[in-house]
Symmetry: C2
Subunit: 203 residues, 2 copies
């Protein structure tokens, strides 16, 4: 996805030395726009404006709006996918606590909460965004956790465990239902880790 090495320089294309910085700035702006507005209401024009660049430059680096979305989410999720291996590793009877702690660590950190909200909001209002969610979160993250389990129904177990955490995120961070929205994160980990563990390895 970097700028092509040769060819005729078109109008609006940046000097190559600026490319990395500009590309990152567009991705950051894209994450913020998708997070605030959802997939449908975000436009390439709006992303370009927030990044302070010409819309043609956004198309040049990423292509369509769907491709900008996928790139923004993929970059944001790279550390998550790396860390998911750490969660999946280790003794199986600690997987519930590791997954729960990891999950709240992401959501309680404003830097990762923004792209997570972008995915969640967008997945709700658009089938394209839902497909990206399925591909990145369901297929990659959850399948890695499931691969560590010996149970024959490991994928369904992992999804039901994820459902507990996803529902908690929806009610706490999106809907802001009380008392859940103000509960201490450590209290939530203490309550939810055994539930997640039960889904993963229980009878």
């Amino acid at each position: 996805m970097s700028a092509p090495a040769g060819g005729t320089r078109r109008r609006g294309r940046p000097p190559r030395t600026e490319s990395a910085g500009t590309r990152d700035r567009i991705l950051t702006a894209a994450r913020e726009e998708f997070s605030e507005r959802g997939y449908e209401k975000t436009s390439v024009r709006g992303i370009a404006k927030a990044a302070g660049v010409d819309p043609a430059l956004v198309h040049h680096y990423f292509g369509t709006k769907e491709q900008v979305f996928e790139a923004a989410i993929e970059v944001a999720f790279a550390p998550v996918l790396g860390a998911s291996a750490t969660v999946a590793d280790g003794p199986p009877d600690g997987a519930g606590e590791r997954l729960t702690r990891f999950f709240f660590g992401l959501w309680e950190n404003p830097a990762t909460r923004t792209p997570l909200l972008a995915i969640v909001r967008s997945a709700f209002d658009n089938e394209t965004a839902a497909a990206v969610f399925r591909r990145l979160v369901a297929a990659q993250l959850l399948r890695r956790v499931a691969a560590q389990l010996e149970q024959p129904d490991a994928e369904l177990r992992t999804e039901l465990a994820a459902a507990q955490l996803v529902g908690c995120a929806v009610l706490r961070y999106v809907i802001k239902a009380e008392p859940l929205a103000s509960a201490d994160p450590e209290q939530l980990v203490a309550r939810l880790a055994p539930v997640v563990q039960g889904h993963l390895t229980g009878p």
Copy 2:
């Protein structure tokens, strides 16, 4: 919210005998529009078009878009709130299964799934809709269940139980993550009822 009894008949106002049918038709159209598009992208004009009436008539019966939304959701949720009393009644050790079965009963029935999707989608893309969700679902439905519990942290317990079910609905009906999306509802009730019960009355 019925048509005023007297006063000058304005252009576009229907004969009074048509009022109930027209009002219901607008509400049905509103539920479908909010469900398909979410709160933000739904317009009074679009609702009017779907119902085959003039937009002025929608304003006449309901007022603002927020008020149309609240009326559409409230009518859809009236049977839910009635039934929630039934869920909350009965022996506490069966509350988990009653709540879980009731929840999947709503989501598996296309007639109730539509307004539920409308609430969920809309609550995600708009703070006004999230407030309606908090008021109707969190404050009314969950508080009724919590009121039946003796535990001092009954409201947090009820929300964590709801989180398990809400997350399952998100992954199954909105994101359509497999294998959860195709799982047999009875299998899901069998797995989730003990989890919900544990949240409500467990240690």
